[in-house]
């Protein structure tokens, strides 16, 4: 896997720009873009983040329209792809060194019937991705799972470089009010991620029903993540919670600040993921970073991200998942081993090390 020949003849680029249709604060994708931009600038490249829509709270993002004016053929353009957007087709026609960074598209099967709008978008995204295969010079997957998808779709020149996580961003003091609210000693199962059908928060709620009936009647489930994009699924999960008589036991926090997020991680007993599709799974590493043991259903890129530093469950069995959480909650020895492995795993994704890998992969 080498850098395309044409790039080597034309010398190094002067600018390396990045594009994603939407850039928002606190979103793993956007954080990746900003962290990479910082490093690109450190390495001496002119680098900007471009978007169609910059949500409130992000600064220094330029309109994608400028790209058509500023990009020269020897410049590099990183197209981050996690949703389809018509602008990708326009940008693909630009003369530049184009790299598609693939964060995976949630398959439409997860949305169909719940949120048809999202299903249509996902399907269009996948179709568009297939069209881009012949128009970019390189495809980069943020996990082996994503790279495998790219190769299947027909991207000729692929490689894997993990997401660049700026760990210094997590050095915030935990939110005191959240810490205080969660001061009592009880079992708290935590999952962090958008409320979305592919992440199967409904299974976590059912699992909690088992946990309270068979293990600990006081256990609670915290579902941290925005539910704005999937109001239908969120409403149905809430209805499921009420039907199972868990209104007091399941908490949907919605989107939270980094300080509050740190507090939830600090106060939780175990991080449990029953997600059925993840392109990478940053919260798995965040949990390890905050010293929280991880129990996860092995789906998509979850297994490779956890990398042996958590309990992986190959089969989706809610009773087994609950008992795994209980085991971690009860056994101090098992917990300690998982935490030590978690710290080692997070070190694998150290910001500088991943930045160097990214630089090498892009031939910069």
């Amino acid at each position: 896997m080498t850098v395309p020949k044409a790039w080597r003849f034309a010398g190094p680029p002067r600018a390396v720009h990045q594009f994603h249709p939407v850039l928002a604060p606190g979103d793993a994708m956007s954080d990746h873009v900003f962290a990479l931009r910082r490093h690109l600038r450190e390495w001496g490249y002119e680098s900007h983040a471009y978007a169609v829509e910059a949500k409130e709270g992000v600064a220094d993002v330029l309109s994608y329209r400028r790209l058509f004016r500023v990009v020269r053929p020897e410049d590099m353009l990183l197209l981050h792809f996690s949703i389809g957007h018509e602008v990708f087709d326009q940008l693909a026609r630009l003369r530049a060194r184009k790299v598609l960074v693939y964060h995976n598209v949630t398959p439409p099967e997860f949305f169909s019937g719940v949120n048809d709008h999202a299903a249509v978008h996902a399907r269009l995204g996948l179709r568009q991705l297939a069209g881009l295969a012949s128009q970019v010079d390189m495809g980069v997957g943020v996990s082996g799972f994503d790279t495998h998808d790219l190769a299947e779709i027909g991207f000729p020149n692929t490689r894997t470089v993990p997401i660049l996580i700026d760990w210094s961003r997590y050095d915030v003091a935990p939110d005191q009010s959240v810490l205080a609210a969660l001061s009592s000693r009880r079992t708290r199962i935590l999952f962090v991620g958008r409320i979305s059908p592919n992440k199967r928060q409904d299974d976590l709620i059912r699992m909690l029903a088992y946990y309270r009936a068979c293990i600990d009647p006081e256990a609670q489930l915290y579902l941290v993540g925005s539910y704005r994009d999937q109001p239908q699924y969120h409403a149905r999960c809430a209805a499921l919670r009420d039907a199972l008589d868990l209104s007091q036991a399941v908490v949907f926090t919605g989107r939270v600040s980094p300080a509050a997020l740190a507090a939830y991680y600090r106060r939780a007993t175990v991080f449990c993921s029953l997600s059925e599709h993840e392109g990478f799974g940053v919260p798995l590493l965040e949990a390890m970073h905050y010293g929280l043991p991880v129990v996860a259903h092995d789906a998509g890129a979850v297994g490779e991200t956890v990398g042996g530093a958590g309990i992986l469950l190959a089969r989706k069995d809610l009773a087994e998942a609950a008992e795994a959480c209980a085991l971690v909650a009860e056994s101090a020895e098992l917990r300690e081993r998982l935490l030590a492995a978690g710290r080692r795993r997070v070190a694998d994704f150290a910001t500088e090390a991943v930045a160097v890998r990214t630089r090498k992969a892009l031939g910069l």
């Binding site: 059912r206 029903a209 009936a213 149905r236 042996g308």
Partner: protein, 369 residues
């Protein structure tokens, strides 16, 4: 990124998890209510499509009749009113075009569904024919393996043992069954053993496959049923018989069937019941190499040590072996010096030793917990 070796032994953890679940199942903590909670469908609509794909046919049956709705109202302030009005107008204008398209789609969906159901009922052409061919071939093989078409009455007349001899052999086990009330003779044949039981006041009945044999036995007023030995054992209630005798049966079945039979015996015999299996002794060379094979129904000889092992493994106790029925006819003369006599005796034992052996066992007095 290369993954380091796992921090924990996942197989060990999974074993612990499954053990915990098993215990909770047993104690009733993990009962039907929890099961129902774990299976509670997501309220407010159909199950997730990704889940329905796992069992598509029933889902299709429901999805095909699902109404289709579209809410044209826009939530945008001010502009929304116009957007809504515009959408309503377009929908009104296109109504019949869309209705025709959806009618056609509906027709295709229903045809596809019907075709799928039909296909499921009707497997690929010629499937039944091929299956029947295979089944017949297999049944023929099983019959040919033991020359099942030979008439056993004729066979018995030519090679079968002398009834008085068989009765004498059976008498040595009489004491084992004394005082029993429901002894089962598997492969009871002409009913020699059953007759002995009746004469000794022991309750017993037999099972045999051969209709002619059964007829003979019944003509003597014995209780014999026509059934396959293993199937009969399987149909019995636990601890419903208190003794089992099977003469020259074990060498007629496949090793796996014999083990299954022993397992069933263990189940259906009351605690402390005796079992006796009589079979040719292949340690005697004239048996193992010659007479054993006189019966084409014999599948394979069973060395006594193996038979003893089968019984011990299946949980029978006090397992013992006895041999009997010395070979008839000429033997090597044991004469000359000591060494020559010794050698001749050894050879006589190997060549013309006892022709049958019995392996005897007993079910434990206490039921296993």
């Amino acid at each position: 990124m290369a993954s380091p070796p796992p921090a924990v032994d996942e197989d060990e953890i999974l074993a612990e998890i499954r053990e915990r679940i098993r215990r909770k199942r047993e104690t009733g903590v993990y009962g039907p209510e929890v099961d129902a909670a774990l299976r509670l469908p997501l309220p407010g609509g159909r199950p997730l499509f990704s889940e329905e794909l796992g069992d598509a046919l029933p889902a299709l049956r429901e999805a095909i009749d699902e109404p289709f709705e579209y809410d044209p109202r826009s939530r945008k302030p001010v502009v929304g009113l116009f957007v809504t009005a515009a959408r309503r107008l377009v929908m009104g204008l296109l109504r019949w075009w869309l209705a025709a398209a959806s009618e056609r789609q509906d027709r295709i969906d229903r045809l596809t569904f019907r075709a799928l159901l039909d296909l499921r009922e009707r497997p690929s052409p010629g499937f039944d024919e091929r299956l029947r061919h295979l089944e017949e071939g297999w049944a023929r093989f099983r019959r040919d393996l033991v020359a099942a078409d030979l008439h056993s009455v004729y066979f018995q007349a030519r090679f079968g043992g002398d009834e008085p001899v068989i009765r004498r052999q059976s008498e040595r086990f009489l004491e084992l069954f004394r005082g029993r009330s429901r002894v089962l003779d598997l492969g009871s044949g002409r009913g020699t053993f059953l007759e002995l039981m009746r004469d000794s006041g022991i309750g017993a009945y037999g099972v045999d496959l051969d209709a002619r044999m059964i007829e003979t036995a019944r003509s003597r007023g014995l209780d014999v049923r026509e059934a396959d030995a293993l199937e009969h054992l399987r149909a019995l209630e636990p601890a419903s018989i208190d003794g089992l005798y099977a003469r020259h049966l074990a060498e007629h079945v496949l090793p796996g069937e014999l083990v299954a039979m022993l397992r069933e015996c263990r189940r259906v015999l009351a605690p402390g019941s005796p079992v006796v299996f009589v079979t040719p002794d292949p340690r005697t060379l004239s048996v193992g190499a010659h007479t054993f094979w006189l019966d084409p129904g014999h599948v394979r000889p069973i060395p006594p040590d193996l038979f003893r092992f089968y019984l011990e493994v299946e949980g029978f106790e006090d397992v013992d072996l006895v041999t009997f029925e010395p070979s008839e006819g000429e033997r090597l003369r044991e004469e000359g010096d000591d060494a020559a006599r010794h050698n001749a005796r050894l050879l006589n034992e190997v060549l013309f030793g006892d022709r049958d052996y019995a392996v005897i066992g007993r079910t434990p007095y206490q039921r296993a917990p």
